[in-house]
């Protein structure tokens, strides 16, 4: 090994010792999100469509009130908040899943991940910063959507199933709904990080939410019931209920906690894989 004495431009010998700050990484991830137009549009459309559909569903519910069976009517009366949040938000769920997957899988499909990892070769901070920024963004959008849905839905239901923000459990359900969407987004992001292929990851997540979860509801016996209740979206969505319903196996915060555990476990797998696998 020979040492040459050519003056080498060492712009950063001082900055070398300190790792790049996490704030810088979060700023970078924010730039990534806001600079892809399709993401910004998707989020805007998500909010608008969710509110429109919530309004439509509630109006339909009221219009058909007289034909609705007694059990359903009773449910709407005891849990108007859950009824409101259980309509248009279902659409937000899907959009959040797709965006969560895209947030990381698009880096793999375009090759951007190599540039990202060259900049942050320790790798896991990239996933952490991306999750933090995406999670916060979805939380904000989710809360806007949840409160928006409530304020769209509540006046429509007013005649048949009156509800106000001050009623017991309402604020928790609405705020929790935003939290649920943020966690679901992170759940999808973790799956995207593990699967790496956009289409495959979206299929996995959406399949899980739309197909596997309802199918698990048909599993027989108490074991089947427990499995169903502990599935991520089934458990997490408990938070949107104003009151517990008969036969619920998990409370609202317990349910959200189960979703958080699922998400944390998948994130851990994603982090280990990110470190180990070749990019």
């Amino acid at each position: 090994m020979t040492t040459t004495t050519v003056p080498v431009p060492q712009a950063a010998s001082a900055a070398q010792e300190r790792p790049a700050g996490f704030a810088g990484l979060m700023l970078s991830e924010w730039t990534k999100i806001r600079s892809v137009r399709s993401t910004v549009w998707s989020l805007a459309v998500l909010v608008v469509l969710t509110l429109v559909f919530t309004g439509l569903f509630m109006k339909m519910g009221i219009a058909n009130w007289d034909e609705t069976n007694a059990a359903q009517r009773a449910e709407m009366r005891t849990d108007p908040t859950g009824t409101i949040l259980g309509s248009g938000i279902l659409l937000s769920q899907l959009a959040v899943c797709v965006l969560g997957v895209m947030a990381i899988a698009s880096e793999y499909s375009t090759g951007m991940i190599r540039a990202s990892l060259l900049a942050v070769p320790r790798r896991v901070p990239v996933l952490a910063a991306k999750s933090a920024v995406f999670g916060l963004l979805v939380l904000v959008v989710g809360e806007v959507t949840a409160f928006g849905s409530f304020f769209v839905g509540a006046p429509i239901l007013d005649g048949k199933a009156p509800v106000a923000l001050g009623d017991a459990g309402v604020v928790r359900a609405v705020v929790g709904c935003g939290l649920y969407l943020a966690l679901l987004g992170l759940f999808a992001l973790a799956v995207g990080a593990i699967v790496r292929h956009t289409a495959a990851a979206i299929t996995t997540v959406v399949g899980f939410v739309l197909v596997i979860t309802p199918m698990a509801g048909m599993l027989p016996g108490s074991v089947g019931e427990h499995i169903h209740a502990w599935l991520p979206t089934e458990a997490g969505f408990m938070i949107t209920q104003q009151h517990a319903r008969a036969g619920d196996l998990l409370g609202p915060w317990e349910g959200l906690g189960v979703l958080a555990l699922w998400t944390a476990a998948l994130m851990a797998v994603a982090a280990v894989q990110l470190r180990r696998r070749d990019a």
Partner: protein, 308 residues
Amino acid sequence: MIEAKNLTKRYGDKTAVNDLSFTVEPGRVTGFLGPNGAGKSTTMRLLLGLDRPDAGEATVNGVPYRELARPLRVVGALLEARAVHTGRSAYDHLLCLAQTQGIGRRRVGEVVEQVGLGSVARKRAGGFSLGMGQRLGIAAALLGDPAALVLDEPVNGLDPEGILWIRNLMKSLAAEGRAVLVSSHLMNEMAVTADHLVVIGRGRLVADCSTEEFIERSTEQSVLVRTPDGTRLAELLKGKGATVTTTGDGDLDVTGLEASRIAELAAAEGLVLHEISTRRGSLEDAFMELTKDAVEYDAGVPTAGGVK
């Protein structure tokens, strides 16, 4: 300075890089040469911490790439495959990379201008031509004003003007004291750009020397002799230890003897020479000769009858 020490990388049962060691010194352009599939890109990915070696180690200024705190300020890299989100503008692409290293917007503007993308910096990178994409990749490599550069096939897709630009850029970066490693499968391109060559074939080191030395060592000299007494002269020269082949035109292609010695021997025997000239093989021939045992995808080189 970049160092590869006994790097080995296997994919399944295929060994892409095999016990490879070399050093990229500052202040010069080191050409990294090898036929397609020789393991150049894999080696570069190992240097940059994108892949993990199965054995050996790669360091930059003595530190593995993965341990660099602000790597873009130490090593700038251009990878062969594009590493840009197609939906993002060139400016935003560079900005999000800069923000991870604490590099300001002014520097982003500077490199955009330096690579000549000023007018399209706000356009989506997905619409860029191959050449513009390469320029964007080079802008990303220069972002942190790094002391070392690793460029994988930078002239790919560039027009002649672009090739000249990148050639001069690499030379000036080396002249500023930076270590520049640039891969190529084109020998002639490297001959005019690189000061030093690291040649690999099938993942193994084939040559590691200065470009001059490589040319000197590997382009064999031969002497073309045109004579009506071909048979007799051939016998005579073979007797003196030369290797003689007769070309299609009946001329002799002699290696192992200087032209002056051949002329003297012919004169002593009273043989008539119509023409005698020394020829050097081309660099491309030398490169092919050197790596021919190490070519991954050998289609068989079509022989151009008699032309060398």
